[in-house]
């Protein structure tokens, strides 16, 4: 709620009203804001809210402040809401009803309905971004970049930061991709017209693009055919590629994580899930230092052969003993691993008899096996 500024509620030139809805209560994060129920107004430039009883109480926020938003369905005794996640406060923001807030999101609670239309219009305005084309006289500060020195955050702040980074990355990728498309076109044309060779220079440039995306020489079905030979080559490539990521993650990755990692790096000639699994099944026969492993629950992981099971279980027992008891979620947070893999680890330790379980309405919790 600290992103809002006081306003007189009048629209500027070039600013038009899109939709307004009565019966809206504001929430600062999960807490009810100190205002009463009022009217929410959406313009091409701002999100405005005005108190029903006291029309002087009027606040607004530029739409550029909005990071993303989502619907929250209502229930019995609960109105439907729109949750709006916001960029950090810009330094030159005008004063508003809240000096500071521990939340970086607000909610609009629609006590007299209207959320469906409001959400639709908000989506439209956020797509069109009309405020960028027609700036108004009031200063509308845009969401600034990251504050320097912010420590690694989990939760919404971390996600927001990642979204910012991704956006910048995407912009960079788009400009790089343009270059690459030009190059590919020129190569394709040359091949088509059988005009001379592809110069060594072009080949080198092409390969350097691939390298920057993480693939030195993509093994494709064309170059190596399909079937076992293809899978063999693929397995060897995976063996190289996954070494570092596996070590970073303590020697084990869920197969789904591997799939995402590999395909993100390849960029083109994506792997199908079947090809990935078939390649992974060949690790052992090819004497590669990786293994595909299936847990009792059906979860499939790729793990380093050097990965020590006993160490993993012993450390799990240490962690649990240290804290008295742990849930899979708590353990995941402790290790920085996914909840899926953490749970597998705990289940394995239980299978070996080092841990026992407490299953109650509070959830599933693991204790050292004192029996």
């Amino acid at each position: 709620m600290d992103r809002f500024s006081w306003t007189n509620g009048l629209l500027e030139i070039n600013e038009t009203l899109v939709i307004q809805q009565r019966g809206v209560r504001l929430y600062d994060g999960d807490d009810k804001a100190k205002m009463d129920v009022g009217v929410a107004l959406l313009s091409t430039h701002r999100l405005i809210w005005r108190d029903n009883k006291n029309h002087e109480c009027c606040i607004a926020m530029p739409l550029s402040q909005i990071l993303f938003f989502e619907e929250q369905a209502g229930g019995i005794g609960k109105s439907a809401k729109i949750v709006i996640h916001l960029h950090p406060t810009p330094p030159n923001k005008e004063p508003g009803p809240y000096q500071q807030s521990k939340y970086s999101y607000i909610k609009l609670s629609f006590k007299e309905h209207g959320q469906i239309e409001f959400y639709r219009r908000l989506t439209e305005e956020m797509t069109k971004r009309r405020w960028e084309n027609t700036p108004v006289s009031q200063p509308i500060p845009t969401g600034t970049g990251l504050q320097a020195g912010r420590t690694r955050a989990v939760g919404i702040v971390g996600i927001e930061r990642k979204i910012e980074e991704k956006r910048k990355e995407t912009d960079k990728n788009i400009s790089e991709a343009k270059e690459m498309v030009e190059l590919s076109k020129s190569i394709a044309n040359k091949i088509k017209e059988k005009q001379g060779d592809i110069t060594e220079d072009e080949t080198i440039r092409f390969k350097s693009y691939l390298l920057s995306m993480g693939i030195a020489d993509p093994v494709t079905r064309e170059t190596h055919g399909s079937g076992t030979h293809y899978h063999m080559q693929l397995a060897k490539q995976l063996g190289d590629m996954l070494q570092a990521p596996l070590e970073e993650r303590g020697g084990m990755m869920a197969l789904t994580e591997v799939y995402c990692l590999v395909n993100r790096a390849r960029g083109m000639e994506l792997l199908s899930p079947e090809d990935l699994v078939n390649a992974c099944k060949m690790f052992e026969s090819l004497k590669l230092p990786l293994r595909l492993r299936v847990f009792d629950s059906g979860v499939m992981v790729v793990q380093l052969q050097s990965h020590s099971e006993e160490e993993m279980i012993a450390s799990a027992l240490d962690n649990v003993s240290d804290k008295g008891s742990l849930t899979a979620e708590e353990f995941a947070k402790l290790l920085g691993l996914s909840v899926l893999l953490s749970k597998e680890r705990l289940l394995l330790a239980e299978k070996m008899g080092h841990l026992c379980r407490d299953d109650s309405v509070e959830g599933l919790r693991f204790y050292p096996n004192l029996f």
């Binding site: 008899g353 026992c356 379980r357 407490d358 109650s360 919790r365 029996f371």
Partner: protein, 174 residues
């Protein structure tokens, strides 16, 4: 003297049926032991399964954990296999709890009889369970059905004979 709970009683996992076979075995043994001690302490000879689920024996309000009906049935089955429990009905809702098996009672009674040089005497059942002479003995106050089974066990062993008398049963020890 108030009942002393075993350490497991305050350990939340104790109330969850453990999937690991070895762990489960130890868990069940502890439950059997607790159930029998509890019954012995409170001199309970029969149990109603529904009531048992809510009683402190299977329900620790302090840590907000209780044994599920499924787990209770498994514990009772263990006790039955060991000879400490007998179902009174087909639906398995009521049972006899023998925190001491009939053979064990029989042995105790016989020891008392022989210690006091009363072998070859005849006793009524009442004298044994409620007589002044047996005051202070562990089997004093034993319920009749249990006493009868104990004496039957001795009879099988050839150390006693149950006889019918005018107003009830009696027993002669050899």
């Amino acid at each position: 003297m108030s009942f002393e709970w075993p350490w497991q009683y305050n350990f939340p996992p104790f109330f969850t049926l453990q999937p690991n076979a070895d762990t489960r075995q130890k868990q069940l043994e502890a439950w059997c032991s607790l159930a029998l001690s509890y019954c012995r302490h409170h001199k309970l000879y029969t149990l109603d399964v529904m009531e048992a689920q809510e009683s402190p024996m299977f329900n620790n309000k302090k840590i907000e954990r209780k044994l599920s009906m499924e787990a209770i049935q498994i514990v009772f089955e263990e006790l039955r296999k060991k000879g400490n429990l007998e179902w009174l009905d087909k639906n398995k809702l009521r049972c006899l709890v023998m925190w001491r098996r009939p053979e064990e009672w029989g042995k105790l009674i016989y020891q008392w009889v022989s210690k006091n040089g009363m072998v070859n005497s005849v006793f009524t059942l009442y004298e044994l369970s409620n007589g002044d002479d047996t005051q202070g003995e562990e089997f004093h106050g034993l319920e009749e059905w249990m006493l009868l089974r104990s004496l039957q066990a001795l009879q099988t062993d050839g150390r006693a004979e149950i006889i019918s008398m005018d107003d009830g049963k009696g027993v002669k020890f050899f």
